[in-house]
Every structure is written in C-alpha cells, then in structure tokens.
Symmetry: C2
C-alpha cells in the first residue's frame, strides 16, 4: 500500500487524502462543493505558505468576524461583499439575455412590507434633501411595455442612511415604496437625491479594508426589485455616474448599464407642477425584463 | 476606458477588479496574501456556481462556526483541522532534512506548566488504564545522542480524555510530564495505553463531518514536544498502528514514520521491577532532531 492509500497525509497528496474521505457524503452536491473548496483552499495555502503565526491570524480574523454577527449585523456577508464574492454569485445567478437590464446585489436594507403607492407619490416623508423626480418604463426585450409590473424601490436619504438605520430619526418607510405599472408600462415617483455612504466599517471587515488601503463607501444609488408575471424578477440599482465613488464601490455593485443620468433642472413651471420649491433632479431610466426561463 | 479600468465588475474580470483595489495596502505581504485568497475564492465560486441559497448556507455555516467559539472552544481551528489545512500549514513550516523525525499538529490540549519529572516516573496519577512503559533515545541526524534534550509529553487516558477535559475527574497534570535526557540521550517513563477519541463534534464542524459521512475520531497517540539547544524544536505524536482509526484520523495527523510499536508483554519479573501488577504495554521509539537552520 502506498502512503496515500492508507490515508496518510503529505504535502503532495493533501487534496486527494482530504477529499477521499467524502466517499459516503449524504449529498452528491455537498461532495462536489467540498471537493472544490478543499482543492482551492489547499492551493491557496500552498501558494501563500503561511507561517504558523499568519495561520493563527487568519483563524482569529474569522473568529472576530463571527463574533461581530448578531440579529442586526452580518459581518460574513460584508466580508463576502468586499471580496467581490456576493457580486460574483449575483452575476452567476443572473446571466441575462442580450438587451435585458442587468442585476446587482440586493444589499441588507430591503424590507418586505413597504406600502404600495399611487404613481407619482413622493416617497420622501420628511422633506429633507434635494428634490428628485424619477421616471421610466418597464419593457420586455422586444421593447413592448409590461403592464402590472411591480416596482419595489428603496434608497438612502441625503445623509446616506436608510430609515431602518435611523429608527426614530426618520419616519418609518421613509424613501420606500411599491408602484404598479399601467398599460403603457411607465412609472414615476418623487424622492430626494441619494448620497454615498459607508458600509458598516467598525468591525473586522472595516479593519481589513483599512489595512488594504480601501475606503468603505458605496456610490449613491436607488434600489429596485422589479417583478411581473412571466418575467424573471430583476434586483438591481441605478447609480449616479457623478458620484465620487462611482469607480470604486466598496462592494463592486456598479455596472456600466446601471448608470442613470441625474440632471439638475431649474424649470419653475415643472417644479410647481411637481410641488417642488425650486431646483430639482430629474432621472429617467427604463428597465428591460427577461422572459422567465422554462424550468 | 474599458469597463475594468473604471473598476466595474464583471464575471470575467472579477479577480483583477477586486485585487486592483489593494494598490495602497499597508503591507506587501497582506497584498500578496489577499491576491491569492481572492483568486482562489473566485475560482472556487466560478467552479461551484452556487445558487443564492447555497451562498447563504455557506454564510450561515461560517456564522454558526463563529458563534461556537469561546474561551474554551475554537471551532475555526477544528474546521481548519478537518479540512487538512492545519496539517498542511504544519507540513509547510516543518520540512525536515532526510532522517529527522517528522512533525504533526500540536492540538489544543498542551499545557505550558507541566511538572518536570525524574526519568522513569509514572505520569498516570490515578492508576486507571492499562500499564505502559515508553522508552527511546533523542538523537541528531548522525545518530549521536543529544544530552539535555527536554521532552514534554502528554496524552489522553484510557477513556480518550485529557486531564483538562475532565477537571475534578482526573488529577491535575494527569498523564503529562517533562523529562530531560542525560549524556546517553535516552528517556523512559511509565504511563497508560491511550485510546482513540472524537474531536469536539457537537458543533457546526461535527455536523459537517456527519453530512460528509466522516467520523470524528483521532487514533490513539502520545504527544511530544522535544527541544534541545542548537536543534529545531519537534512537535509531534507517536501513534498506535493497531488503532481502528489509524487510516482515517479526523485531522489527518498520522504519518507513516510516526507509527510506534505497542507490544503487550507478560514478563512478570519486569512487571514487578516496573511496579506494574500484570501484563503491560511496551513502546520503544527514537526521535531524531534536525539542526537549527541558520537565519
């Protein structure tokens, strides 16, 4: 018997010995996943050649990351975000046909039960920030309007905070709403211009970013989940292309096709019509949904 | 500008975009380590193509692993152990010259302040288990005896528990001792035959092992740390080759060269001489230390 047949571990056969133990795994998928994880983990260790002290540093980093997690804070998701893993999983699971709008990360601030509002409603409930009107159409890939599309939208305020981060300071459901398209597939609502904000950076992930010389900011954006019968649900953002962090989103959520145009308008007549008091921002962005894949 | 120059993330350029952010890392080593980790992590995700649900399962597994850690329990080290990472790091850091004894993992049960004992002492303080006498020599790679070598030895009892796991049930420092060689480099002491035991398997790592169809057992062994001036310190085990788990150590610690011979002896005269009451186990194992590397 050779050493590896006896199950004895060496630097050379490490992957085969470890994955060889999984012959009786309860699921083929788990066996496959653990094969890849073991291979890539051992490849990384062999390339890095960590000292015992560096290995212990990694153990303690993961331990601190776990210690930071609670009902309100998911530090492992943050870690996945800043390493580009969340965006990669999103990309793999949302390969769209040509012409369909691209997805991006859901993020941690979606709430399930936002109110359904009439088209044109102002989702800003506390009048703070610079007025903004957003409009566009929900289309299929042939350019036909989609009727009864449900648009779930949410955003941070002009200080970079979501309502759920400032309970008591912002009204409940501030800057959230659900809209439903009519026969022409169009939507519009009023809001305030969002601002860039940092991901929570007072934990191990924030410390890692600092060590890597990286900032924790996400460029200003609005979140959308758009769903309609017969179509793939689209979870995405639109971004302000003039944001200082547009080329360095801490969680890699920006895609070229998600850049909207934020135009500053001084049209007094339209401002009055929209019940705005002066200058306001105007955004127009269409979304194209892909047909549901046959399962 | 191409998309990747703007820092926009795609499935294809994911690694370059993420590692490209580390240009201003505070340490070249951290930058290098994170390059490898990012590359291997993205390679793994691209090969596995996890669903969003599987990704969340992984996040929650790491979160539970973190939640299991406390002053007495290090679940991330256990995870590193059962994935062969701890042994791999040990192997990388302890490449020995030909002829020197091989190392294996330290394990979590070493204590710093075990008593120094005279050669021949019985480290079993509660008379439980099958008597055993262990002897051998500490040698350099030319076969010369090493004088003043310090041998720190510890082991589980015949039920598979270390003293620190059974405070109050076992005497303090049961089955631990430190011995120092004389001019002939030889050592001997009395103990009891150790037994296989499970790694702590009541947490997420134990659940993973169960899902993988793996048992949590380590084959019976004695731990040694052997140090001497001018030599590399050797952290290792000797194993009972007849143990039922010798080919499937849950943490991959077994190496061919670490198999000792455990012989059952019925020599009544020697038993009396050793103050044993009947049959006893006899183990003879030499250790060869490597000269300290020049730094």
């Amino acid at each position: 018997m050779e050493a590896h047949e006896k199950g004895y571990f060496t630097e050379e056969n490490s992957v085969e010995v470890v994955t060889g133990r999984n012959a009786n795994a309860k699921s083929e998928r788990l066996k496959e996943v653990m094969s890849v994880i073991t291979l890539k983990l051992h490849e990384a260790v062999k390339q890095i050649e960590p000292t015992q002290e560096e290995w212990m540093e990694a153990i303690l980093f993961l331990t601190r990351t776990g210690g930071m997690c609670n009902e309100w804070r998911q530090e492992f998701i943050l870690l996945s975000d800043v390493l580009g893993v969340s965006m990669l999983v999103d990309a793999i699971n949302n390969r769209k046909p040509s012409g369909a709008s691209e997805s991006t990360v859901l993020g941690p601030f979606h709430v399930a039960d936002a109110p359904e509002l009439p088209m044109g409603a102002n989702i800003c409930l506390d009048s703070k920030g610079e007025d903004m009107v957003i409009s566009g159409r929900i289309l299929d890939i042939e350019g036909n309007p989609i009727k009864n599309a449900v648009i779930d939208v949410w955003q941070a305020n002009d200080e970079g905070f979501y309502d759920v981060q400032q309970k008591g300071l912002q009204p409940d459901f501030n800057l959230r709403g659900i809209f439903r398209t009519g026969g022409d597939g169009s939507y519009w609502f009023r809001a305030v211009k969002p601002k860039y904000y940092p991901i929570p950076d007072d934990g191990p992930v924030g410390q890692l970013l600092a060590q890597l010389g990286r900032h924790p900011y996400r460029p200003a954006h609005l979140h959308y989940i758009i769903s309609a019968d017969g179509f793939e649900t689209l979870t995405t953002h639109i971004f302000d292309p003039d944001d200082p962090y547009i080329h360095s989103d801490a969680v890699f959520g920006v895609k070229e096709s998600l850049l909207a145009k934020f135009r500053l308008t001084e049209d007094q007549a339209r401002a009055r019509q929209l019940e705005f008091s002066g200058k306001f921002w105007e955004v127009n962005h269409d979304f194209v949904l892909a047909y549901k894949r046959q399962v």
